[in-house]
């Protein structure tokens, strides 16, 4: 169906694609596309959808060659792309969004609303969605919107749909809904290219996978013939060891303790203790309350009623400022919205919470002190940046995350709450971050809570894993225990299985 031969694309200063060949053979093919940040996956797809013309190479679609592919032509040929950022118009109705840009008209050229509503309603029903098409898109959940977007692409007679990190904003339960939908479409002959960092999803959904590295296609494989470590090795090119956390040491008295925490509708009877130097994993389905708990501890949301003790003394934070003052720090799941200040420099990001500590006479910040601290943290965390004055928005995802870590480290926290710390980060940086977490907890005796849906990672790094289900803690696992397996944890997460 699609054949890209020897495509090369250069941008000022960098070769994004070097002689890449990629093909989609069959209808209904579910083809994964993986690689580190900067490997060229998105660029390759951008070339296919006509956003960028290639410097050299051929693009053949349905057997015909297209030397001057534009977005219009690409769309007409049935190629559509769905990103992680919504491409719908929130203030307009579902129906109008689906037909956006190609509104049907009556014989005299007026917009034919009847047809629009009727057809959208019919087709959505056929696709298994029962929704009032006159509703405005802004009232829909994220997953529903993703589905509408794919529907829109299908409406435009798209036969090849590219999902570019489309599941990144989705909680696991809704990813399943999306996959079900994708599989149904595939049965009708639509082919999908699935770009993701979530290797587990690639294994679940795709039949074939193409690995890209440094602008090259380093191999097409059948998914069934690979194991995850092999795939990881291919992507990063190095034998990346699975991270093994350091030994447990005698931890001592509890540092953070919550008893019978209750927040109506979110969680109840939450009791947890964490000792200094301990790494506790917290996992569960979306909506189980795990991230609300962390945000509550940090002052971003109400915590609820119950007893909360830090170092034996009552703890309460009504704002992040109060939390930080008491030594509790939080790494947000939403990096771009809550974690980094993209426009400002690495230096400013890191020292923002502790500016008052860097003051000298007259209440002015002492540059030398600041630079020294920042330089130290950058080195320790291996943040790759040309200068500490570089605006954080220009760093790669993994390095941005490290900047947030550095910021938290600068506060010298006693408790670290990490919400999806390796999300959206390439394989190499993932391991580095896990190492940092391990180091921080052991050396500085920081109590760490890692919230994640990646059970495999939790098994690697945590001493204990606590599972929540519908607002309650249902099981605790010790990672050193042989009975603790990924399966057992998964059962607990889904609320099945005997304790």
């Amino acid at each position: 169906m699609v054949e890209m031969k020897n495509v090369t694309k250069e941008f000022p200063g960098v070769r994004a694609l070097s002689g890449v060949s990629f093909s989609l053979r069959a209808e209904g093919e579910l083809h994964g596309l993986v690689g580190k940040n900067g490997a060229g996956k998105s660029t390759l797809m951008n070339v296919l959808t006509g956003v960028f013309p290639p410097d050299s190479g051929e693009i053949n679609i349905h057997g015909k060659s297209y030397p001057r592919l534009t977005t219009t032509i690409s769309r007409q040929l049935g190629i559509a792309c769905v990103h992680q950022h919504s491409q719908l118009v929130p203030s307009l109705s579902i129906a109008e969004n689906v037909f956006c840009g190609s509104l049907p008209t009556t014989r005299i050229g007026l917009v034919d609303w009847n047809t629009i509503y009727r057809e959208t309603g019919e087709r959505l029903k056929n696709l298994g969605l029962d929704i009032d098409v006159r509703r405005k898109v802004e009232g829909l959940s994220v997953a529903e919107r993703q589905i509408i977007e794919i529907t829109k692409a299908l409406f435009a007679k798209a036969r090849i749909i590219i999902l570019d990190e489309a599941t990144a904003p989705l909680p696991k339960s809704e990813v399943e809904m999306l996959f079900g939908f994708v599989r149904r479409q595939r049965e009708r002959g639509a082919a999908f290219v699935y770009i993701s960092h979530y290797l587990e999803e690639i294994f679940e959904l795709c039949e074939t996978v193409t690995v890209m590295k440094d602008g090259r296609n380093i191999g097409d494989h059948a998914v069934a013939s690979l194991s995850q470590p092999e795939l990881v090795r291919l992507i990063s090119g190095v034998e990346v060891e699975r991270f093994r956390h350091s030994d447990r040491i005698a931890f001592g008295d509890a540092l953070l303790e919550v008893r019978d925490l209750d927040r109506p509708g979110v969680y109840s009877q939450l009791s947890l203790t964490i000792a200094p130097g301990e790494i506790v994993g917290l996992t569960g389905l979306e909506g189980c309350g795990k991230d609300s708990f962390a945000r509550g501890l940090f002052g971003l949301e109400p915590l609820g009623i119950g007893v909360t003790l830090l170092g034996g003394r009552p703890y309460r934070a009504r704002s992040p400022r109060e939390a930080l003052n008491q030594g509790v720090a939080y790494l947000p799941r939403d990096r771009h919205g809550l974690g980094i200040i993209g426009l400002r420099s690495v230096r400013e990001n890191i020292t923002l919470p502790i500016l008052s500590r860097l003051m000298g006479l007259l209440g002015l910040v002492v540059r030398k002190r600041e630079n020294a601290l920042v330089a130290q943290l950058i080195e320790k965390l291996n943040v790759v940046t040309p200068s500490m004055l570089q605006a954080v928005q220009f760093l790669s995802g993994g390095n941005q995350q490290k900047v947030v870590f550095a910021k938290l480290a600068s506060v010298d926290p006693k408790v670290l709450l990490l919400d999806e710390p390796t999300q959206g980060v390439d394989v190499q940086a993932k391991v580095e971050i896990l190492k940092i977490i391990d180091q921080l907890s052991r050396e500085k005796k920081v109590a760490v809570v890692v919230i994640s849906e990646e059970i495999r990672e939790l098994l690697d790094i945590c001493d204990r894993i606590v599972v929540m289900f519908k607002g309650r803690i249902v099981r605790e696992f010790l990672t050193d225990d042989s009975r603790t397996t990924g399966e057992a944890i998964l059962h607990a997460v889904e609320g099945t299985g005997v304790a």
Partner: protein
């Protein structure tokens, strides 16, 4: 409650303007019996004509999510330019001496309006400059040009035939009112039933999404500015007829009222929302308040204050409406983000 499941704005809020208008009419009629007379209502409508046409133009750009702050200056320049071309030179008319045929002058006026609209559109879409700043600068520049044309003096002696639009009556109904209502009807129709209109909403609601759907967002924005410019010319035509002379300061300070009427009528400053019908309601409401307060012999200065409060109220509602219905930005990894 899921953070991204929001209540749809109830019908009441969307049609608020009509309730408000009704309320205003009732209150003023109760306070003075001179309010609800044929004479006064006609007066209100006539005064609404110029504002109304300007609001139509502004609505087109606002729906695409762009401001046209230069509108008031466009009105001024086009008006005096037209007057200038048609009148004799020297005192007391202060014209050019060209004594241009009114029809020709009208052509030039519309041409100027379109030209300004084109410039605004190009600067904003091709040179990617901020719409607030561009139209703000144009506001200043074009007012300056108006002064240059007239040297600060008022131009008089406009041919009667030209002034007919702003002046004349078709039976008991002023032509300007008919024009106003017809213009709004046409604009409403375009917005609701043409692809062009729907494209404008898409561009204003999410211009990336619009582009991806095949809509030429930049082109639509340019077209919106062309319409705004043309409307300014249209309004200038009516205003010259109504005022009778080409005063250099025509339109000064009108920009706030235009935005206010649009917003009161439901056209969101954020783009992608609102209807022409609502905008008309906004215009009528503002004119009614003006008229009512005048009849009640409230001091001109106090009227300004009341206007300010009305504007604040309207925009407060706009902001709340949009805040309620605007989806939280969903960047990678967030299913529920706490907004502060």
């Amino acid at each position: 409650m899921r953070a991204n499941q929001l209540r749809p704005v109830p019908v009441l809020l969307d049609n608020l303007i009509w309730f408000l208008l009704l309320l205003a009419l009732i209150i003023f009629s109760a306070l003075t019996n001179r309010f609800f007379t044929v004479n006064n209502v006609t007066n209100i409508l006539v005064h609404s004509a110029v504002l109304g046409i300007m609001v139509i133009g502004q609505s087109f750009t606002l729906i695409t999510g762009n401001f046209d702050l230069s509108a008031e200056s466009n009105l001024g320049l086009i008006a005096v330019l037209g007057a200038f071309l048609m009148t004799a030179s020297g005192e007391p008319s202060n014209g050019s001496g060209l004594l241009l045929n009114p029809l020709l002058a009208l052509l030039v006026m519309f041409g100027t309006g379109l030209l300004i609209g084109a410039i605004n559109g190009l600067l904003i879409t091709r040179l990617k400059m901020n719409n607030f700043i561009v139209t703000l600068s144009m506001l200043i520049i074009i007012r300056g040009l108006a002064f240059l044309v007239t040297h600060g003096k008022t131009v008089t002696g406009i041919p009667a035939s030209f002034k007919a639009l702003g002046h004349a009556y078709a039976g008991p109904v002023p032509i300007s009112v008919i024009v106003l209502l017809a213009a709004f009807a046409l604009a409403f129709f375009v917005m609701r039933y043409t692809r062009f209109g729907r494209d404008l909403y898409a561009v204003g609601g999410n211009s990336d999404a619009a582009s991806v759907s095949g809509i030429d967002s930049q082109r639509r924005i340019r077209q919106a500015y062309l319409i705004s410019g043309a409307m300014a010319a249209f309004a200038a035509w009516i205003e010259l007829g109504r005022l009778g002379v080409g005063a250099t300061r025509i339109g000064e300070n009108m920009i706030f009222e235009i935005q206010a009427a649009a917003v009161i009528g439901g056209i969101s400053l954020f783009g992608g929302r609102g209807t022409m019908l609502g905008a008309l309601g906004g215009v009528l409401l503002l004119s009614s308040i003006n008229s009512g307060l005048n009849l009640l012999q409230v001091s001109g200065f106090a009227i300004d204050m009341v206007r300010g409060i009305v504007i604040l109220g309207a925009m407060l509602i706009d902001a709340q409406k949009v805040r309620y219905t605007m989806p939280p930005r969903i960047p990678a990894g967030a299913a529920s983000t706490t907004k502060k």
